[in-house]
Amino acid sequence: MTIALDAPVVASRTWRHRWPLGTIIAPVVGVGLVLTIWAIGGRAGWGSGMVVTPAEAIRPIVGSSRDVYMRATSATVWSAFRGLVIGSALAFVAALIAATVPALRRAISRLAAIANAAPWVAVAPCLLVILGRDRGPVAVAAIAVFFFVFVSTSIGLGSAPVAAHDVLTALGSSRRVRVLSVQLPACWPSVLDGLKLGAPAAMAGAIFGEWYGAPRGLGVLLLSAMQSGRAERLWAASLLSAGCGLVAFGVLAAVRAALVPRYGAVITQSQTAAEIAKGGSRLRTTVVELATVAVLVVGMVAAWWIWIDAADISPLVVPRPSRVWHDIAGSLSEYARATGSTLATAAIAFLLGSFVGMGAAVVASRIRLFAGAAVPMIVVLAATPIVALFPLEARIFGTEPSTVRILAATMVFFPVFVYTRSGLAAASRSATDVVTALGASTNKRFSLLTVPAAVPHIVSGCRIAAGSSVIAAVVGETLIGSVGLGVQFTYSYRLLHMPRAFGAAIAIVVVSVAVFAAAGSIERAVHARWS
């Protein structure tokens, strides 16, 4: 085996510069291919006429209703932007506090998971009472964004190399200084990963929030399109929403790409030597964990009770904790059945979404043409609000239980894809050069270097996906499901049986947090093994 020297490496670099396959040609070819298939499908009337040609889909936007669409887009984008700023600022601060004050870390992490898990529809009356109808879209967008940015910031803050921590600790710096000078600079690429996920989520959240009764917006247009059965209007509104999400995603991805050379892309959790020494017994940590949860629960129930009495909240808007408890205790079997059904749907959605997400990311990393074509399409899919996707999916797959799983899988797919893709690019430059110089083939390089470097990222992506899978299943059930916690919630809510509705919402939160915690411990184990 000859050792390949500089020559072949240099030659391939210049070849790539002359033909920028990945960055220009592939996207153009890919998008062109998608448009062609779309036009064929539109002409053939796929999905019982639900699919229209690209020209028909664009017509409402450029035709006589141009003003309406432009006003609607600016209203929704403005709400989404405000939600993104507020949600990510809060999430960033929360993660920073969690990193700086270790005593609060567990509590804040649990609270973030709970905030993420509260189904948006359950939060509606409470939001209306506190914030007023007009801020609905901003509030839902902020909630949608918070979780992604919180988790990614926490991951980022933990990704500074152990050596840097040790140096500063040995020099006698406080925890605060360590956070500011070591952890903070290292977290930007990860924060931007979170923002990348958050931007399309903010659009979807703003649209969902408009369904509370906003006077204008893309959500309002989606609804009127659905009611009047005009497929082209549905497509037009969805395209606008996806387009805005795509632009935001692109900008954030570019910023992140600019930061990676400066800050690196390693995201394994690191522990300082001092913390490792302070480990403590496993029993002690479990007891502390349970105590934190108990304190949190008691605190929240107390706050709930006090708020109802102090603000004179009507039982029609928020029921008393005692009545909710009685309902849960009295109908345990029904709750158990619904929970089991939702968990099953979530599990299937998670497996389906992760499998497809990882597969797509791997193919994208190996075949530049596919990457250039697929990534914009995937981001468009992520930015299209699920409420716009579901009529199409319902017509293609029919109104049956399996469609709920496909809907939920669509929501799980995106985080896994984004994190796997980051991970596959994370192998360090020098290691890649060494292995290539030693004559390794692409496949060998992939299995020896790229995949092991990607595993921590993939696991983080799966952790976020697991946390979202329960909510994804619930959203799918709310739209067209027939069993599960989402159905139980919607049904009771519509009949104004508030204790049952809140009981279902609490069950959703508990299940979601439990799944997220389990995924978190798996992630910690993997990161420990891989760092």
């Binding site: 019982s48 639900m50 209703s65 309406v68 006003r71 609607a72 403005w78 700023v85 507020i86 990510s88 600022a89 960033f92 509606a124 009356p125 209306l128 009472v129 007023g132 007009d134 801020r135 901003v138 500011l180 000078s181 903070l184 600079p185 369904w211 509370y212 009764g213 906003a214 204008r216 309002v220 247009l221 609804l223 009127s224 399109a225 659905m226 009611q227 009047s228 059965g229 005009r230 909240i313 009507s314 039982p315 029609l316 808007v317 029921p319 009529p391 319902a394 017509r395 029919g398 109104t399 067209i480 499901g481 027939s482 159905v487 919607t490 049904y491 519509r494 104004l496 049986h497 508030m498």
Partner: protein, 379 residues
């Protein structure tokens, strides 16, 4: 190698983040204030201008004038919450607001649209965000009052609720018995009324529920044999798309109820009686204006109240007459439009809900108050 100053960068980014945290809520507050003033019906400025004109529809030309001789001093503002988006269903309100019919009697109005995710109108009123509500039928109010609210029915826009069934023209359905064993599509929560239709006809509820959303496609595709629908909405929309259907309200199947029931809490009524009398007088005038000219509301809907909702003009023009047909009954011929018959309520409507399994039902004496509307009719 580089002269980059880490400390400066940290300080910089900390200031940026701090700014975002402070700026965010500020921006949100400013933005929503704009929204609030916009959604407050731009009509209030227009009604004062159009105060003299009572028959022609106002255009969006904005002139501000003081109150004219035919308007009385304002008794207050009634925030009205609808249970759906801007639609021709609310024609009477739009005409009343636009033509100054409410301000003529001294009532200012704010018309608030709903949507699919809006909490039930009863909840919106309970949270203090609105004063006067429109409920699709009485059941919501009966259930709300069981949770401790004190809602009272003041009248009803439609003498029969348009809520009912819709099926393809060649499916043979005419009585409740024909529904046995069928696939019935509806939104989560409709099961209560579907079961009620069976029980009121002494039948066991035997059907397959097909969960749907707002797209009537499952009926066209055959996933459902029958769907729940407003007889004034989906059948007309489907006909415009070339699908022939038949439809009938639940009343025809034995489950009688009023439609678009007008209600407020007893506390609010006691505190604002005169305002409500003026409000209902204005609404009555709006109803009569809509009856007189069903096409007058269409430009208001497309250019003003529903301008951001992309109103379907073809549907609205066909739907309005269908709604107007529901205004009249033998009772209204004798007692005026919008009125509710307490005797009919006790003898026909409540038994339907009892057959549906509802317990602790109120009587018309506690749930219905006809005096406010009676006073309004005298104005």
């Amino acid at each position: 190698m580089n002269t980059y100053n880490r400390r400066a960068f940290i300080g910089h980014s900390a200031r940026l983040m701090g700014g975002a945290v402070i700026l965010g809520p500020l921006v949100a507050a400013c933005g929503s204030d704009d929204k609030k003033t916009e959604s407050t019906s731009a009509a209030t400025s227009l009604t004062t201008a159009a105060g003299t004109e009572t028959t022609t529809a106002a255009t969006t030309a904005s002139t501000t004038a003081g109150t004219t001789a035919s308007s009385v001093a304002s008794l207050g503002k009634v925030r009205t919450q609808f249970n759906w988006v801007a639609d021709v269903e609310w024609a009477a309100w739009y005409l009343g607001d636009s033509n100054g019919l409410f301000t003529k009697y001294g009532a200012d109005v704010e018309l608030i649209s709903g949507g699919p995710n809006t909490p039930a109108v009863a909840q919106v009123l309970a949270s203090g965000a609105a004063d006067f509500g429109v409920a699709s039928d009485e059941l919501q109010l009966i259930q709300a009052n069981k949770e401790g609210t004190d809602y009272v029915i003041l009248g009803a826009m439609y003498q029969r609720s348009p809520f009912g069934y819709c099926w393809l023209a060649d499916t043979p359905i005419s009585t409740a018995k024909d529904l046995v064993g069928k696939k019935i599509g509806g939104v989560q929560g409709d099961q209560v009324r579907i079961d009620a239709v069976f029980k009121v006809n002494d039948l066991e509820p035997d059907y397959t529920f097909v969960p749907m959303n707002y797209d009537p496609q499952p009926l066209v595709d055959g996933d459902a044999d029958v769907i729940t629908a407003y007889v004034t909405n989906q059948p007309i929309q489907l006909k415009l798309k070339g699908v022939e259907t038949k439809s009938a309200p639940f009343s025809d199947f034995g489950l009688k109820s009023y439609g678009d029931v007008l209600f407020a809490s007893k506390k609010y009524i006691d505190a604002n009686r005169d305002l409500l009398v003026a409000y209902l007088a204005g609404l009555l005038a709006g109803v009569k204006a809509n009856q007189a000219d069903p096409t007058a509301v269409i430009p208001l809907l497309t250019d003003k109240y529903g301008k951001d909702a992309e109103i379907d003009v073809a549907y609205s023009t066909a739907g309005n007459p269908a709604y107007i047909a529901l205004y009249d009954s033998d009772f209204t011929k004798a007692n005026g439009l919008l009125s509710v018959d307490p005797a009919y309520f006790d003898s026909d409507v409540l038994p339907g809900y009892a057959a549906a399994g509802e317990t602790d039902l109120p009587t018309a004496a506690t749930l219905v108050d006809t005096t406010i509307l009676a006073d309004a009719q005298k104005l």
